[in-house]
Amino acid sequence: MENRLFMKGNEALAMAAIKAGCRFYFGYPITPQNDIPEYFSKHMPRAEGCFIQAESEVASINMLLGASAAGARAMTSSSSPGISLMQEGISYLAGSELPGVIVNINRSGPGLGGITASQGDYFQATRGGGHGDYRTIVLAPYSVQEMHDLTMLAFDLADRYRNPVLILGDAFLGQMQETMIDRPYQPLELPPKDWVLSGAMGRKPRLIKSLYLKEGEMERHNWKLFEKYQKMKKEEVRYDPFLTEDAQLIVVAFGTAARVSKTAIRQARAGGLKVGMLRPITLFPFPEAVLNELSKRTPKFLSIEMNTGQMVEDVKLSVSRNADVEFYGHPPGSPPTPEELLQAIQKAY
């Protein structure tokens, strides 16, 4: 019989990381993700792992870089302002082709912003975030169950591609408690880590770097990374369709916005409106092809986000030209209500 747990999102995520073999966590306190470092500080010693409360997010991400270079599964977590500080390190991870899992429990911004849930970091998460021409896989959970399951997946994807993977949650997902199934970790098939630094015992020295100065090297490296991102687009797109078959209007939403939208869509259906939803689970790679396919039979799309309009740009780029894309935004402060989203759906329908 499957084991059911009643857990907080942040703790389910941390528990899943340890199940997936993560033994190195480095982090710095920031609300609303403190349950994650607190969980690791308690449980890492029991798992014979390493927890360090770093002096800053800058140090956290670079400790992760070091542990990852040694071949260990490592992660860090933070919330928006702290994730901004990590962008340098994330860029170096991508350039050095090092795996690593970074969790952003999105709070509001810009600046110090506030501690309530937001989806304001969509652009930062999906466009690379730091300097240079790179992408990270971005997973967007929408329940405590997915906070758990996608975390285990994140470690495998990071190792599969030798690339940082971001989990973009938000303050609601991190703080809410609900029932989840305690699924076991089932690893994907992964390539051997034949690149790790361990001391050049009986082999040639290895080098992990992102500096390319010699003629033509940088261009070749950028194209190599590009090929990797193309492969992600081909093989790692994940999404969750909901009542899309006969839909005349498809809501596109992720995370908490998708969770609330689902209730509003059920209400709209009860009122006779043929509404469905396409929920991207990977924000990069974005489900472009499936949206394009849906737009051949559904004329209208409504992007619902907890910001003033970010993912809507990707929706517009994905759908066919004659499809109509509208946007409804609820910037952070309070959560969007089903009633409010129902009105937005009725208006767009």
Partner: protein, 250 residues
Amino acid sequence: MKQVFSRPNSLRDVPFHFCPGCHHGVVHRLVADALDHFQLREKTIGVAGVGCSVFVYEYFNIDVAEAPHGRAPAVATGLKRALRDRIIFTYQGDGDLASIGMSEIVHTANRGENITVIFVNNTVYGMTGGQMAPTTLLGQQTTTSPYGRDFLQDGYPIRMAEMLATLEGVSLSARVALNNAANVLRAKKIVRQAFEMQMKDMGFTFVEFLSSCPTNWGMSAIKANERVEKELIPYFPLGVFKERKESDVL
């Protein structure tokens, strides 16, 4: 015929790119000598800082990770926590360690991470063309202190070895110079001691080298060596500022 001198195995057989009279080559050699002496080449991972230091991977015959500017001690922390039986050292210049990386070096030292830090203080940003560093001496002209460093404008040069020696987590903090044979021999001894302490799990060890930078100082190699003696050593005195014994650690 008996061979009495050769390139350490921990260095590759390639020419250094460093400018004539620069001390980086000597620092490389002394670190490699220590790795050879304790037979550590195959169990050591170096962490390269940014600046002229970054090219350690071109010269050392060992595994190397390159760190973002100033972050080498954090990267080394991650490596060492994951590989406790390996030898980890960072190699950093003064801009890297004492300016942008001040936070990382202080906290890594304070945690007493069991790593060795090789700090090359030549009082300028070398690779970027000789800008003012946190260790630039008062009155010293650089490309960003063209009228000479003025404490009212730029503050004072930072004495890292003394500063880190105040931290409980530090096991060895020393400053050495390479301007004459006697100082090179003293430096060699201290570098060996630092790595030996790491082998004994004694915690954080720090060796600051006063180094010349003839190119960015606008001097001949000989004049630059003289400047180390006349100007650098009086402000940055040589010596061991903190040294824990095995009995202190256990």
